[in-house]
C-alpha cells in the first residue's frame, strides 16, 4: 500500500471533514471504543486468572474451590470479551457500511448537480474510482485502523503497567528487547519498499503491454508479428518475475524476523522470571502470566506500524472523495422560475450576442446572433471543432453562455429551471447511451408508465422493431453498452425510438443518424419528417443529404456563422458551403 502523504493543512482539513462524516455515528463509535477497552481489559485479565489458578495447584494441597472460582471467572471473562468483540464488529460494520452508503448517495446526487464542464473535463473512470474504491478504502481503513490502533495502544499500556507492577526486573527485560523488534520491522519495510515500488512499476508496464497486445492480437497475427511480440513480452515478464521474487521474499521475512524477536522476549522472560521465582520474587502462576503477555505484547507493535500507513491511506482516499463532493456546482435555478410551455407559446429561439468558450484563453463563440421562428428546421454544418455541438450545449443549458442571452418563446433560458427547459426539448445524440436494462425499459426511458403498445409503436417508427423481435427475448432482452451484442447503428435506432415515444415540442438531432447506413437512414427519414412537423428543430449533421430540406442552413467555422441561407441560396453563393458540397458529391 503506497500511502501518499498529503500536505499538512489539507490533511488537517480532511480530518476535520471526516469528523463531520462520523457525526451521525457518534453513539456507535463510542460503543466501539468502549467495547475495545473492555476486550483489551478482559484479555489482559485472563492470563492473570490463569496464573492465579495455577498457583493454587499444589500437590496434595490444591484449593479446588479457589481453582473452580478462577475457572468460572475465566469462563465469564471469555463470555464478556466475546460478547463485546461481537458488538464491536457489528457496530463497526454499521459505521463502515453506513458511511460508505452516505457518501455514495451524496456522490450520486452530486453528479446530477455538477456542471457538464466538470464532468466533461474529468475522466469518468477516475470519478467512479473515487465513488467506489476510495469511499470503501476510506471507511474501511479509517475505522479498522482506528479500533486496531486504539486496542493496540491499550494492550501495550495495560501489559506494561501490569508487568511493571508485578516485577520491575522482568518488565525491564521486555521493554529493552522491544525496540529490537521495532527496528527489525522498520529496517525490513524500508528495504522492501524499494522492491515493491520497482515491482509495481514493471508490473504496470507489463499490464500495459498485455493490454495493448491482447487488444491488438488480430493485428499481431495479421502482420506475422508473433515472434517479436513474444520476445518483447518475455523480456518484460522476466524483469517482472525477478522484481516480484525479490519483493515477495523480502516482505515475507518480516514475519519470521519479528517472530524471532518475540522468541527472544519469551526466552528472556523465562530466564529472568525463573531466576526471580527461585529467589521468591514471583510465583509460578505470575510467571505463566508473564509468558502469555510476552506473546501478546509484541503483536500490537507490528500492527500499529501497519495501521499508521493504513490511516494515512484512508485520509488521502477521503481527501479525494471530499474533493469530488465539494466541486463547484451548477448555478442555482432562479428562485421564481418562469414556466415554459413551448407547445402553447411556440418555439421561436433568439440568440443575442452570445459569447462562450471552454477555455478563457481560447475564445470560441463570439457575437453570435440568430433568429429562429417557431417550427423552423435549422441545420448546422461546418468542419470539426467549429462549434456545432457547443451551440447545442448552450441551447440545452448543458453549459451557460459567458455573455449574451438565449431566449426561447421570448424568455431567457436562464429565467426558467433547467429541467423545465429540457422537458420541452427532445434530443438524439451521436454518442449512443444504453442503460443496463431491457430493450423496453430503454425505449420507455423518457416516459414514465409508457404502455407496451406505445413502446412497440415507437420502436416501429424508429425502424428497430424488426431487429428487436429477432433478439433472444425480444423486448425483454437485457442490454447495456456491452451486453446484448447490439451494433452502433442499432443502438442509435433505440435512442431514436426513445425520443419517438414522447416527442417534445422542440428537437435537437446531433448527428442522430451518423452510425446508420444510408439506406436505413432514408427509411427513417420519413419518421423524422413527421416528428419534426411543426416543431422547431436543430439538426447537426455532416451528411449534407440529410439537411438539404432545412429552412435555414448555418455554416459555422471557428465559432462564427460564416454563411446562412437555404440549400439553394448557399449553393448559388458559391462559398464555403458550396465547397463542402462539392467535396462530398462531385468528383474531380
Amino acid at each position: 500500500m503506497s500511502a501518499k502523504k498529503l500536505p499538512r493543512d489539507l490533511r488537517r482539513d480532511t480530518v476535520k471533514k471526516i469528523f463531520v462524516c462520523l457525526g451521525p455515528y457518534k453513539g456507535r463509535i463510542t460503543l466501539s471504543i468502549l467495547s475495545a477497552a473492555v476486550i483489551v481489559a478482559v484479555q489482559l485479565l485472563i492470563p492473570v486468572l490463569t496464573g492465579k489458578a495455577i498457583d493454587l495447584m499444589i500437590k496434595g494441597a490444591t484449593e479446588f474451590a479457589g481453582v473452580l472460582n478462577y475457572i468460572i471467572l475465566i469462563g465469564i471473562s471469555a463470555g464478556v470479551s466475546a460478547l463485546f468483540s461481537w458488538l464491536l464488529r457489528i457496530s463497526n460494520n454499521r459505521v463502515v457500511y453506513g458511511i460508505s452508503e452516505d457518501l455514495r448517495k451524496k456522490a450520486s446526487g452530486k453528479i446530477n448537480r455538477l456542471p457538464l464542464s466538470y464532468l466533461d473535463s474529468h475522466l469518468s473512470g477516475d470519478i467512479v474510482s473515487r465513488i467506489i474504491s476510495d469511499v470503501e478504502q476510506f471507511s474501511d481503513g479509517l475505522l479498522l485502523g482506528f479500533t486496531q490502533f486504539f486496542s493496540g495502544i491499550l494492550t501495550i499500556l495495560g501489559t506494561l503497567i501490569f508487568m511493571l507492577v508485578t516485577n520491575i526486573r522482568i518488565a525491564l527485560v521486555v521493554v529493552l528487547i522491544t525496540p529490537v523488534s521495532l527496528l527489525v520491522a522498520a529496517f525490513i519495510s524500508k528495504n522492501t519498499f524499494g522492491f515493491f515500488k520497482l515491482r509495481n512499476e514493471i508490473g504496470g508496464k507489463q499490464t500495459a503491454l498485455v493490454n495493448e497486445r491482447i487488444d491488438g492480437m488480430k493485428l499481431v497475427q495479421d502482420f506475422g508479428y508473433e515472434k517479436v511480440d513474444m520476445e518483447q513480452f518475455e523480456k518484460i515478464n522476466k524483469e517482472y518475475t525477478d522484481a516480484t521474487v525479490k519483493g515477495v521474499f523480502f516482505s515475507s521475512i518480516t514475519n519470521p524476523s519479528v517472530r524471532f524477536v518475540n522468541n527472544l522476549v519469551y526466552a528472556g522472560v523465562g530466564l529472568t522470571g525463573a531466576l526471580s521465582a527461585i529467589s521468591g520474587g514471583i510465583s509460578i502462576g505470575q510467571l505463566s502470566c508473564f509468558l502469555s503477555y510476552a506473546n501478546q505484547y509484541t503483536k500490537p507493535f507490528n500492527e500499529i506500524s501497519g495501521v499508521v500507513a493504513e490511516m494515512q491511506n484512508a485520509i488521502s482516499c477521503a481527501a479525494r472523495v471530499f474533493e469530488f463532493l465539494e466541486a463547484e456546482e451548477m448555478t442555482e435555478d432562479p428562485a421564481d422560475p418562469y414556466e415554459l410551455h413551448i407547445d402553447e407559446e411556440g418555439g421561436d429561439v433568439t440568440v443575442e450576442d452570445v459569447a462562450f468558450s471552454y477555455d478563457p484563453a481560447r475564445p470560441l463563440i463570439e457575437h453570435f446572433d440568430l433568429n429562429v421562428d417557431a417550427g423552423e428546421k435549422i441545420a448546422i454544418v461546418g468542419p470539426t471543432g467549429c462549434g456545432k455541438t457547443t451551440f447545442i450545449n448552450l441551447i440545452m443549458r448543458f453549459y451557460d453562455v459567458d455573455k449574451g442571452d438565449i431566449k426561447v418563446a421570448g424568455h431567457s433560458t436562464r429565467s426558467m429551471t433547467r429541467q423545465n427547459l429540457r422537458q420541452n426539448i427532445g434530443m438524439v445524440l451521436q454518442d449512443t447511451w444504453i442503460k443496463h436494462g431491457t430493450v423496453a425499459e430503454n425505449i420507455g426511458y423518457g416516459l414514465k408508465g409508457a404502455s407496451m403498445e406505445d413502446i412497440i409503436d415507437a420502436a416501429k417508427r424508429a425502424h428497430c422493431h424488426s431487429f428487436i423481435k429477432r433478439l433472444p427475448q425480444g423486448y425483454d432482452t437485457e442490454i447495456s453498452e456491452t451486453l446484448g451484442g447490439l451494433s452502433q447503428g442499432q443502438k442509435q435506432l433505440l435512442c431514436i425510438a426513445r425520443v419517438m415515444l414522447r416527442i417534445p415540442p422542440m428537437l435537437i438531432l446531433d448527428e442522430a443518424t451518423s452510425n446508420i447506413d444510408t439506406r436505413t437512414e432514408i427509411r427513417i427519414q420519413k419518421a423524422f419528417n413527421a416528428m419534426m412537423e411543426g416543431r422547431t428543430t436543430f439538426i447537426v449533421a455532416h451528411r449534407l443529404s440529410t439537411i438539404r430540406n432545412a429552412d435555414l442552413i448555418i455554416f459555422m467555422k471557428d465559432g462564427k456563422i460564416m454563411e446562412q441561407g437555404t440549400h439553394e441560396e448557399l449553393l448559388a453563393k458559391g462559398g464555403l458551403y458550396r465547397e463542402l458540397f462539392d467535396s462530398q458529391f462531385v468528383r474531380t
Partner: protein, 573 residues
C-alpha cells in the same frame, strides 16, 4: 490442478523444500512450551540456575534455527510460486497467438487480460501462501494435540474435543458466508455500473430530466449493497468471538483437569502452563488455516480459469504451402458462404467472383451487409462454412499461416497502433525494410508530410496512438500495410477519417503500386467508383458485380446507394 503439477515440476526442489522447512520450523515452535515446562518444573523446582540458563539457551537456539529454516523456506516459496506463474503467463500469452480470430471474438479481450493479470496474481498469492502454510498450520494444530498428549494424556482429551469444534465453526461460517460475499460483490458491481452509467449518460439523463429517478435508483442499489454487506458481516463477525470462547473454555477445562492431576501429583504446574500455551498456539494457527483455505479456494478458481484458457484448441488448422504469386488470378471466391453461429442466418451467401492480379476491387453495401466478412476470408481471419476461397489458385487452407498473412495485408476499419515509434510500427509487416522503403510507404499513404513535420521515423507513438489524430492513425496504418509489400492489400473502410482530397490522392497512389491486388471496402460510392470492378452486397448476398457504369444500369441496390449519396430523386432530408 494437473496443470499446476506440470508447471511446478520445474521448480520441484523449491516446491518441496519450502513446505518441509516450514514444517521443521513449526516443529521447533512446538518444542518451546515443553522446554519452558522443564525450565519451570526442574529449574525452578530444584532451584537450579545452571539448568535454567541451559534451557534458555535451548529456547534461543530453537528460535535461531527456526528463523533460518523459515527464511530459507520463504525464499523457496517466493521463487517457486512467482516463477511458476511467470511460466504460465508466458505460455498463456503464447497460446493466445495461436488462437483464431473466431476464438478471440468468442473469448473476448477483457477475459484474456484478466486471466493473464489478476487471475495469475491470485494463483501466485495462493501458491505462495499455500507453500508456506499448507503443511505448517495443520502441523501445528495436530502437533499441539500430540504434544498435549506427551505432556499429559488425560488433559489432552480437551484438545481432541476443541479441535473439531473449532474446525466445524470455521468451516460452517465459511460455507455460509462464501456465497453471501459473492452476493455482496454483485451488489457492489451493480452500484459501480450505475455510477458509470450516470456519468456516461449524463447528457441523456439531463435531457430527459431523469436526475431524480437515477438518484433514487442509485439509493436503492446502494441500500441493497449495505443490506448484503451487513448480513454477511453479521455472520462472519461471529467467527472470532466464538472461537475465543471455545479456546477459553478449553483453557478452563485444562485448568480444572490440571488441578486434579497436580493435586494427585501426576503432573506439575509447568505442564499445566505448557498445555495452556498449546491452546493459544492452536487458536492462532486455526485462524491462519481458515484464511489460507479462503485464499486457496479463490486461487483454485483462478487457476481453473487459466487452465480453461490454455485448454482451448485453436479452431483453425493451417497447411504447409507457401504462397506462389506467379499466377494470374489473385483471389477467387467459389460459392462461398459464411455462417457465424449455428442456427444463425448466413452472413454471406453463395458468393462467387474472381479478382485478377493488379486489379482494384471495390466492395460496397450497407451496415451489416457482409463486406467485412467477405474480405476477412482472404487472409483467413475466418473460414468459409461453405464453398472455397482461393488465393493464387490454391485453397487458402493449404497455406502456412505466416506465408498467407505475409502476402495478404489488411488495413482495418479502426486504426490500431502499438506504442513505440513510427518506425517500429511500420516495420511490423516487414522487419527488414530500409528507411527509404518506409518513407515511400508513408508517401503512398499521404502520411509523409505530417511525419516529416514531427520527428520523422523516430516520432514517438504513444499507447493507442493517443498523440495522433484519427486521420493520422489511419494513414500510418495504411503505410504499415504498404510497407509490407503485400500481393493483396485490403482497405476495410480505412480512410473514413480522411478528407476528400487526401482520400483521392491516397487511392491514386495505391493504384500506382504496380501489380498489387487491392480491395477497397466502403459504404460510400465515391470511394469505389473508379475500381476495376465493384461488388455490391446486400444482406450477405452478392447482388451486383461490374464497373460503376454497368452497375448504375443493372443494379438497383447500387443505384439506391449512389442516389442517396449523390442526390438522386430518392434523397429526402
Amino acid at each position: 490442478m494437473r496443470l499446476l503439477g506440470k508447471y511446478m515440476g520445474k521448480y520441484r526442489f523449491q516446491s518441496v523444500m519450502a513446505p518441509l522447512l516450514k514444517m521443521a520450523e513449526a516443529l521447533f515452535d512446538l518444542f518451546v512450551p515443553i522446554v519452558m515446562a522443564r525450565l519451570i518444573n526442574t529449574g525452578i523446582g530444584n532451584g537450579d540456575r545452571a539448568y535454567i540458563l541451559k534451557q534458555t539457551g535451548i529456547l534461543v537456539m530453537l528460535g535461531v534455527i527456526g528463523l533460518i529454516f523459515s527464511i530459507t523456506a520463504q525464499y523457496f516459496a517466493a521463487r517457486a510460486s512467482v516463477m511458476t506463474c511467470s511460466d504460465m503467463r508466458r505460455d498463456v500469452f503464447a497460446h493466445v497467438h495461436e488462437l483464431s480470430f473466431r476464438d478471440l471474438d468468442r473469448i473476448g479481450n477483457s477475459t484474456l487480460i484478466t486471466r493473464m493479470t489478476s487471475d495469475l496474481n491470485q494463483v501466485q498469492n495462493g501458491l505462495n501462501l499455500g507453500l508456506r502454510l499448507l503443511l505448517r498450520s495443520p502441523f501445528i494444530v495436530f502437533g499441539s494435540v500430540i504434544m498435549a498428549f506427551t505432556v499429559d494424556a488425560k488433559a489432552a482429551w480437551v484438545f481432541v474435543v476443541a479441535v473439531p469444534l473449532l474446525g466445524a465453526l470455521f468451516y460452517g461460517i465459511m460455507l455460509k458466508t462464501l456465497p453471501m460475499y459473492r452476493d455482496a460483490q454483485k451488489g457492489l458491481d451493480a452500484v459501480t455500473e450505475h455510477t458509470r452509467e450516470q456519468l456516461t449518460g449524463v447528457r441523456v439523463i439531463r435531457a430527459f430530466v431523469k436526475e431524480e429517478d437515477e438518484e433514487r435508483e442509485f439509493s436503492a442499489r446502494s441500500a441493497e449493497l449495505k443490506r448484503r454487506q451487513l448480513s454477511v458481516g453479521g455472520i462472519s463477525s461471529l467467527m472470532n468471538p466464538l472461537s475465543y470462547v471455545i479456546i477459553n473454555l478449553g483453557i478452563a477445562a485444562v485448568l480444572y483437569i490440571g488441578a486434579v492431576r497436580t493435586d494427585a501429583g501426576l503432573i506439575m504446574s509447568g505442564e499445566v502452563i505448557a498445555l495452556v500455551n498449546y491452546m493459544g498456539q492452536m487458536l492462532i494457527e486455526i485462524e491462519k488455516l481458515a484464511n489460507l483455505i479462503i485464499q486457496m479456494t479463490r486461487a483454485g478458481a483462478s487457476l481453473g480459469r487459466v487452465e480453461e484458457l490454455l485448454a482451448i484448441e485453436p479452431s483453425q488448422k493451417f497447411g504447409n504451402a507457401e504462397v506462389d504469386d506467379s499466377g494470374n488470378t489473385a483471389v477467387e471466391f467459389d460459392h462461398v458462404s459464411v455462417r457465424y453461429n449455428e442456427g444463425a442466418d448466413e452472413s454471406l451467401q453463395d458468393v462467387s467472383f474472381t479478382a485478377l492480379k493488379g486489379e482494384t476491387i471495390g466492395i460496397i453495401g450497407g451496415t451489416g451487409s457482409g463486406k467485412t466478412t467477405l474480405v476477412s476470408l482472404i487472409p483467413r481471419y475466418y473460414d468459409a462454412t461453405g464453398g472455397q476461397v482461393r488465393v493464387f489458385g490454391r485453397d487458402v487452407r493449404d497455406y502456412r499461416k505466416d506465408s498467407l498473412r505475409d502476402r495478404v495485408l489488411t488495413v482495418q476499419q479502426t486504426a490500431k497502433l502499438f506504442s513505440g515509434t513510427v518506425r517500429s510500427n511500420l516495420l511490423m509487416g516487414n522487419p527488414g525494410a530500409s528507411d527509404e522503403e518506409l518513407w515511400s510507404a508513408l508517401e503512398t499513404a499521404q502520411a509523409a508530410d505530417f511525419i516529416r513535420a514531427k520527428e520523422g521515423l523516430d516520432t514517438v507513438v504513444e499507447q493507442d496512438g493517443r498523440n495522433l489524430s484519427g486521420g493520422q492513425k489511419q494513414r500510418l496504418s495504411i503505410a504499415r500495410a504498404v510497407a509490407g509489400h503485400p500481393d493483396v492489400l485490403i482497405m476495410d473502410d480505412s480512410a473514413s477519417a480522411l478528407d476528400f482530397a487526401t482520400d483521392a490522392a491516397l487511392r491514386k497512389a495505391v493504384k500506382g503500386l504496380g501489380d498489387m491486388t487491392v480491395f477497397i471496402v466502403s459504404q460510400r460510392a465515391s470511394n469505389v467508383m473508379e475500381a476495376d470492378r465493384i461488388l455490391v452486397l446486400d444482406d450477405g448476398i452478392l447482388v451486383g458485380s461490374g464497373t460503376h457504369a454497368e452497375l448504375l444500369k443493372d443494379c438497383e441496390v447500387y443505384r439506391d446507394i449512389y442516389g442517396t449519396q449523390f442526390g438522386g430523386e430518392e434523397a429526402g432530408a
